[in-house]
Symmetry: C2
Subunit: 431 residues, 2 copies
């Protein structure tokens, strides 16, 4: 018995769009067996019809205007791979959902900013809105949070969510070179954009984290509450000393739900060299999730790229064809309530502190006295060698402490005469 094909239109034919076409062309029979119906590309849309994209597109209707896909009578589902939080992607999503079409996207910025409103539209219309590809590429983390761990009260999601930053940090450690040199190399290799700020300043990770929080905790998405710090200030010195203390520096997105509220932060962190997360190098991503019954699981895989991201897009399509349209996040959008945002200053944890000071008597006493005033106790301390431009490095790790106190102590240290650079502090994350 032949089942009617499930018909899709694809807007955007960059890397990921091309990957989706390739998967459907190559694995079509397998997908039909798994989904129960063939998945058929009916129409595609991109800026330039003339570019050779290395895949055959002649069998598909070409639409110059992506919005035509939302209006097309012969399309069951629209795939959006244009990007951008607003503009045509957003318009296409709204119109598609309103026209009763399912919608699959890899657009993290759009979901982070408008996910709740769009989910409302989808749920009202009884259609699916899915975005597995928006977070961590080939890793099925949205499905794992939404379905695989659905029995649990989840309390924490933390991970390496940006391959560009992870590549840069991995290369900085491997070569001993500084951020700027490695960024330039990453740009040359195509691992970083010409304008890298979305990646290296943590905004991309924050988009993904806001989405993960909503799915994991059932709290209203709140991108604006994410405290964001990128990796521009990480130095080769920090990477070296972190290693001496038994840690590696990773840019983590971390969301923690407690009775006090929801803490969401993106920042470089020191993670134990022996942890699973520490061993995740290069362009890979990894996410750790904690819940009340499952304890902890960690998933690792490729966080970007044509194949892995397209794999996530097509898995979403197959899910929809298999049937069972249910809530967009882990519960109906109407049940998702705002969580009280918890500031970084309320964070309680251990820290790495790097100071460059003049090599003179009394310096150590001044530093340790400021820490003592905030009741911060030192776990380990290394004082060694000449820093660049003279002076010596005093690098230490603290026991767990309130972040506000540490920031206060650092502020005071900044004013010490002996202090040659602005003091740097990096959180130590238990993973």
């Amino acid at each position: 018995m032949l089942k009617k094909p499930f018909k899709i239109g694809i807007a955007g034919l960059g890397n990921v769009g091309r990957g989706v076409v390739k998967i459907i062309q190559k694995n079509g029979a397998l997908i039909a067996a798994r989904a129960g119906r063939p998945v058929e590309i009916v129409a595609v849309s991109a800026r330039d019809a003339k570019v050779d994209r290395g895949v055959g597109l002649t069998a598909y209707r070409w639409e110059n205007d992506p919005l035509a896909l939302a209006a097309a009578g012969d399309i069951d589902l629209v795939v959006e791979l244009i990007g951008g939080s607003d503009g045509v992607a957003y318009e296409l999503c709204r119109r598609s959902l309103q026209a009763g079409k399912h919608f699959v996207t890899a657009n993290k910025a759009m979901i982070a900013h408008h996910g709740m409103a769009l989910a409302g539209l989808a749920e009202a219309g009884g259609v699916a809105l899915k975005f597995e590809a928006a977070v961590a590429g080939g890793i099925p983390i949205i499905k794992t949070l939404r379905e695989g761990l659905s029995a649990n009260r989840l309390t924490r999601v933390s991970g390496i969510l940006n391959g560009t930053c992870n590549f840069i940090l991995t290369q900085m450690e491997a070569t001993g070179q500084g951020f700027d040199e490695i960024l330039a190399e990453a740009q040359r290799l195509g691992y970083a954009e010409a304008d890298p700020s979305f990646d290296v300043d943590g905004v991309d990770t924050a988009h993904k984290l806001a989405i993960l929080s909503g799915v994991a905790f059932g709290t209203a998405l709140d991108f604006n509450a994410v405290a964001i710090e990128g990796i521009r200030n990480i130095t080769a010195v920090d990477i070296k000393y972190a290693g001496e203390f038994g840690y590696r520096i990773k840019l983590l997105g971390t969301a923690v739900l407690s009775e006090q509220g929801l803490e969401q932060r993106v920042a470089p962190c020191l993670v134990d060299l022996k942890s699973a997360i520490a061993s995740v190098g290069g362009a890979f991503n990894a996410v750790a999730v904690e819940g009340d019954f499952v304890d902890r699981i960690v998933i690792e895989g490729r966080g970007a790229g044509e194949g892995p991201t397209a794999s996530a897009v097509v898995a979403d399509i197959i899910d929809i064809v298999r049937g069972g349209v249910s809530s967009v996040f882990s519960m109906p959008v109407g049940k998702m309530v705002s969580a009280h945002p918890i500031s970084n200053l309320e964070h309680f944890g251990a820290f790495y502190v790097r100071l460059r000071v003049q090599d003179e008597p009394g310096v150590m006493a001044e530093i340790t006295d400021l820490l003592r005033q905030q009741e911060i106790s030192i776990e380990s301390l290394i004082q060694r060698g000449q820093g660049p431009g003279g002076g010596i490095f005093v690098v230490l790790t603290t026991h767990e402490t309130k972040e506000a106190g540490l920031r206060h102590a650092l502020k005071k240290m900044e004013n010490l005469n002996c202090m040659l650079d602005k003091p740097a502090a990096i959180r130590i994350e238990k993973l």
Copy 2:
């Protein structure tokens, strides 16, 4: 608008059964929000009604006969946590599915042996049969293979699937003690059964592997084709030398699908110390999956225990309540065809070889000559010290070679006059 509760009956109230009751009692409101309907336990069944299980059961109807759950008119779904491939568990499954009830189980032996027939019953009746808890406890690996990676032609699934063996191997490395001593300790701590053979001889891992193969590849389940080797022959010496070569020994279940057919094997393997799998210690499980677009993902988590396993059971229930009953494995059971089983002897890979020989002239020449005859080239070789009972150890790793040739060479070595123990070979697995 209040939705009618979804009613379940639970057969078996050991650790996992108790865990399921606890989750539904503790997270009931959250589960209702996620599932869209409350999940209500209506009846339970176990051998002894009088045991104090540490959870309140008085609100539920007690059935002395678990088969009564299949017949009960007020139950939508039966959870089976009795165990055993045949007997009452199997009868309960058949009857429940035939009575139009959904069925959720943690029973790997039953699914490995009868999964295809039971899936046929479920699909014919339009009900769900789910078994996430049967493999790797809290790790949602069935869902990941069936749904998360459904766009891919999967080629390989490999993992640490038995926490008892992983605990024993981890402890052997940590303490330098032998298998028997650590097994006794594991039994004392409750990490190993009084009769440990299902675990340490690899049968439990093989059950799980046969299930993973079927879900990953869409091939007919074929437990009998799994080549099974346990960990009883692993010695402290092997663990030590493996470490010197940069490897760690893990019991892996590995299934590889190629154009030649399906290779399924359970055996101790050497894995690179720097790999994600190598860092998975103690009672944890981890699974690596490879597909044509996603490349590779690795998931790690608790592979057993009350909370994690019950988390998987309840996630299956929530999936069913959310709707969308589709095929039991990754495609309808009627489309799953038998794969040609590939014997271990056709395996192509690198090996670790441990020999204990008399310390006399010409020994090394005899050994290396036998390897040369089979065109096996040596990657590294260590010859050192006195072995127990005299003699010296010659331990080596080979380059990639056909397993049949290596086995042939080992057979000939066994007959050398200088050979004091039966030669041991362990596969080196690239992960």
